[in-house]
């Protein structure tokens, strides 16, 4: 699966989680993370990646794990914190190939 699809899947999963929970702090954290992935996705539209690099493989694995964690958070409120942590890990992994966070810092 390509990076754009994986990013979109995670954004969709975060969206469902944002709607499913009621804790405003967790909602705000998830909205910020979703914005970060949106910006990464917008940037990825214009780029070609070396899909054979280890960083790329790590990013795709982290995105998949974060999507799974977000889906688990929907059915189990106790797992929302873990979903947020997974999303942060994924954001850092994707940033390694996009250089996005360094660029906007």
């Amino acid at each position: 699966m390509n990076l754009l699809s994986l990013l979109s899947e995670l954004i969709d999963a975060l969206d469902v989680l944002i709607r499913a929970i009621s804790d405003p702090l967790q909602q705000a954290q998830l909205v910020k993370l979703r914005e970060c992935f949106e910006a990464m996705s917008d940037s990825a539209v214009h780029q070609l990646f070396d899909t054979t690099s280890q960083d790329f493989k790590d990013a795709t694995i982290a995105l998949g794990s974060a999507t799974t964690a977000a889906k688990q958070g929907v059915s189990d409120v106790g797992k929302v914190a873990s979903a947020i942590n997974s999303a942060v890990t994924a954001a850092n992994a994707v940033d390694k190939i996009l250089g996005f966070l360094a660029h906007i810092a």
Binding site: N2, L7, S8, I11, E35, S41, V45
Partner: protein, 299 residues
């Protein structure tokens, strides 16, 4: 006498086959025209979904407003722009082909041929942008086509008209295949992003409703909930629409190949061509209906 009769029957039969082929090409032309319009419309909606998403997030208080709020991400995408232009060229080519197939006088032929030369040059250039390794249309081929067009004459000999179309379809085919493939690749890559954008619009509206519902009267809540429902429908329809559009691009490429084969090889039956074009036409009709629904459901 028998030989003369046989000759007349053969002439009539070959005349009929050419007329049927020309009729297929006119149907193909209409279907491609509709497909090209639907696809262009979809690309415009797709680009505007980024702005819809930004506006929804700003309105929800998730993001501050900025100049970039109103900029579609695909405005800067070279691949997106080239695919859009190539799609338009494809539509123009199909229109010109249809005009040549429907021409009934020498003046019609001249007019249609001028359009066709321009369209062939455009599809050739645009296919080269979508895929630089795509084969180019040679000036020799264009020269042969011009000779064949001239041979049609003022009386519009149907077999010569079919011969000119055969050459046009043959030389355009590699470019048509390249453009269709490029459209499919571009659509597949941006399809999940489009759906996500509409999902974010839905979530923003959803959160706003949760915040603001308490003081609302029943009737106002119903209106807001209907808006939310429309946002979910827009998302679902958009996904199905883009899937259909990708299938249509493949179907168009297949129909063009079938026409090329049928014009060059008598072993391909008209039924095969009709089936291939019918598939494309059915997709094009569905896309038209989808586009109308997307217009209603877009938040």
């Amino acid at each position: 006498m028998k030989r003369i009769l046989l000759g007349i029957i053969t002439f009539l039969l070959s005349g009929c086959a050419s007329t049927d082929q020309l009729s297929s090409i006119r149907t193909f032309s209409t279907a491609v025209h509709d497909f090209s319009a639907s696809a262009n419309d979809a690309f415009t909606k797709l680009n505007s979904s980024f702005v819809d998403r930004n506006i929804a997030e700003v309105a929800n208080g998730d993001k501050p407003v900025a100049d970039s709020t109103f900029v579609g991400v695909l405005d800067d995408s070279k691949g997106f722009q080239e695919t859009t232009v190539a799609l338009q060229a494809l539509g123009t080519y199909a229109d010109a082909l249809g005009a040549l197939a429907g021409a009934n006088s020498g003046t019609d032929i001249d007019k249609a041929a001028t359009g066709l030369y321009g369209a062939l040059s455009a599809v050739d250039q645009d296919a080269g942008k979508v895929d630089p390794s795509a084969p180019k249309i040679s000036s020799q081929d264009l020269g042969i086509l011009a000779t064949l067009v001239k041979a049609i004459g003022d009386g519009v000999a149907r077999d010569k008209q079919a011969a000119a179309i055969r050459k046009a379809v043959e030389i355009a085919d590699p470019a048509v295949q390249t453009i269709c493939k490029g459209v499919g690749v571009e659509l597949s890559s941006v399809r999940p992003v489009y759906v996500s954008n509409l999902g974010i619009v839905y979530t923003s509206e959803f959160q706003a409703y949760q915040r603001e519902q308490k003081p609302l009267a029943y009737a106002e809540r119903i209106i807001r909930l209907q808006d939310l429902r429309n946002a979910t429908l827009a998302r679902r329809n958009a996904d199905a629409f883009l899937e259909k559009l990708t299938d249509s691009a493949q179907s168009l490429a297949a129909a063009h190949t079938k026409i090329k084969q049928s014009l060059a090889d008598s072993t391909i039956t008209l039924a095969d061509v009709t089936r291939a074009i019918g598939q494309l036409k059915s997709y094009a009709d569905e896309l038209k209906a989808f586009n109308a629904d997307l217009g209603k459901g877009t938040p």
